[in-house]
């Protein structure tokens, strides 16, 4: 038999605990070691992706990157409503559509959903969630990113506890300083104002959407894995350019292949102001660029011009390039010989 007094005491304790759980504000979760932390971090990042596409907000984002010793910083107004995400008057994302504004109007860069999402980031990274600082006046949870088996922090992502939006993302150098970041300077949720200002998706005047390239023949070379943990999640073709898109779960890496020989005028490669810098990868000289979007490297091999672009650190890009063709460009005599030989090759 149970003593009624003891029973009342137990019920009272349970009620007190329940009341305390409701009344006491939730404390941010401390950094969790092991698989639980990974799971939590992945969920937080998934929610952030969803929030960016569904929530209404307005703000200003600062984009910072380092180009050698020089640091660049630019600000971009951002607003989102009714599923349309606008960056200034230049870039729009709406559902699976991506558009950029050009001199000829709005150019469509992407227009379809993708089936393959890519690998889980936990295969390559160790993720930990801990309380972060305020970003743009919002309390955040910080996702700390390390390579599995490494001690150094490589990246930090700050997620708004209230909205779930990713408010700041920064890549860190060996000293722990950010050398590339995208961060909200200000953000508000004025839904009505934002909705009125955002409008709908712009009318597209030209399309350069790539089509899926399922069967590519030589000289194109499809790789299923390159670099450290990058897996192929899609191959596409547009305007004679083949794009292979790889992902490691957190970052993307594109390899563009074009038939031909690299033009001599390197300043025209960029089409803007940069001349890039020479780098040595696997004993081959290539031209590298540091841009707002990330790192890029251009080279030539066996009658193909390769351009690799990534939002990941430079070391990831260099590692991936090592796994791609990079023969010395053939001389004119060798090209003639190759052409003559190819005439008699019937297979």
């Amino acid at each position: 038999m149970t003593d009624p007094a003891v029973h009342r005491l137990a019920v009272g304790c349970l009620a007190a605990c329940a009341a305390a759980a409701v009344l006491v504000p939730a404390r941010p979760a401390p950094a969790l070691p092991g698989p639980e932390a990974n799971t939590t971090a992945v969920e937080i990042l998934d929610r952030a992706r969803e929030a960016a596409e569904t929530q209404a907000f307005e703000g200003v984002v600062a984009v910072m990157w380092r180009d050698g010793r020089q640091q660049h910083s630019e600000q971009v107004p951002v607003r989102s409503a009714a599923g349309v995400l606008r960056f200034g008057d230049e870039v729009v994302g709406a559902g699976a559509h991506r558009m950029v504004h050009s001199t000829e109007g709005w150019l469509s860069l992407w227009g379809h959903d993708v089936a393959t999402l890519g690998p889980s980031p936990t295969a390559k990274y160790r993720l930990a969630v801990e309380p972060g600082p305020d970003v743009a006046g919002r309390a955040t949870d910080m996702v700390a990113v390390q390579l599995v088996g490494a001690d150094r922090l490589r990246e930090r992502l700050y997620v708004d506890r209230q909205s779930g939006l990713l408010l700041r993302r920064e890549l860190l150098d060996s000293r722990g300083d950010a050398y590339r970041s995208v961060a909200f300077l200000a953000i508000s949720n004025g839904t009505g104002v934002v909705a009125a200002a955002a409008g709908g998706a712009p009318r597209v005047t030209r399309s350069e959407e790539p089509a899926p390239a399922r069967h590519l023949k030589a000289p194109y070379k499809i790789k299923s894995r390159i670099g450290t943990g990058y897996r192929l999640v899609g191959a596409y073709r547009a305007n004679g350019v083949v794009q292979q898109f790889f992902s490691d779960g957190l970052h993307g890496l594109s390899v563009f292949e074009q038939r031909g020989h690299l033009g001599a005028a390197e300043t025209t490669l960029v089409g803007e102001s940069g001349r890039g810098r020479e780098v040595e990868i696997s004993d081959h000289t290539m031209r590298a660029y540091s841009a707002s979007v990330g790192e890029a490297v251009v080279w030539e091999s066996d009658g193909m011009v390769y351009t690799a672009v990534t939002d990941a650190p430079w070391t990831d890009l260099a590692g991936a390039v090592r796994d791609l063709p990079h023969a010395d460009p053939p001389g004119r005599l060798r090209r003639v010989a190759q052409t003559v030989v190819s005439l008699f090759r019937w297979r």
């Binding site: 960016a52 991506r98 033009g263």
Partner: protein, 160 residues
């Protein structure tokens, strides 16, 4: 009239001085002799009938060669030629060598023609801004659209 065996010659020694001039005659005619050798040759010619006669002969032959019209060789490059079945003079070019040269010349001509005529691979100057846009567009579909798309909206994309 020149006898069929040519002018009777006395035994000669090459070189300037008191010897007959022989090969020095060509150099003399071409004005290739050094001043001292030239004076020596002229002194010899003044006293040597044979060498003067040979000098006239060589000079006449040169003049004759210069005024000859230029004709294309009728000999076929490959196949039966005038050398076939005939004894070959010492030092004459052997037909096999000639054929090899002709084949190589033909091959070189074909290779040169191919190099000139065949279309060359195009020169490519990748547009990094547009490729970067394409990358960001694709990456924003499966990644975070905010942090992937904001960088391609900044006014300046590539540093100096």
């Amino acid at each position: 009239m020149i006898p069929s065996g040519g002018y009777p010659r006395t035994p000669r020694h090459t070189g300037p001085g008191g010897q007959h001039l022989d090969d020095t005659l060509s150099a003399y005619l071409d004005d290739e002799l050094a001043p001292a050798a030239r004076h020596e040759a002229e002194a010899h010619l003044a006293g040597c009938v044979d060498c003067r006669a040979e000098l006239d002969e060589v000079a006449a032959a040169r003049r004759a060669i210069r005024i000859l019209p230029v004709h294309a060789t009728a000999r076929p490059l490959v196949g039966i030629g005038p050398f076939v079945g005939h004894p070959r003079a010492p030092g004459a070019v052997r037909p096999a060598t000639s054929r090899r040269r002709a084949v190589w010349a033909l091959a070189a001509a074909v290779a040169a023609a191919i190099a000139v005529v065949l279309p060359r691979d195009p020169q490519v100057a990748p547009s990094l801004p547009s490729l970067a846009d394409s990358h960001a567009a694709r990456a924003s579909i499966t990644g975070d659209p905010l942090t992937q798309l904001a960088p391609i909206a900044v006014p300046v994309r590539f540093g100096p």
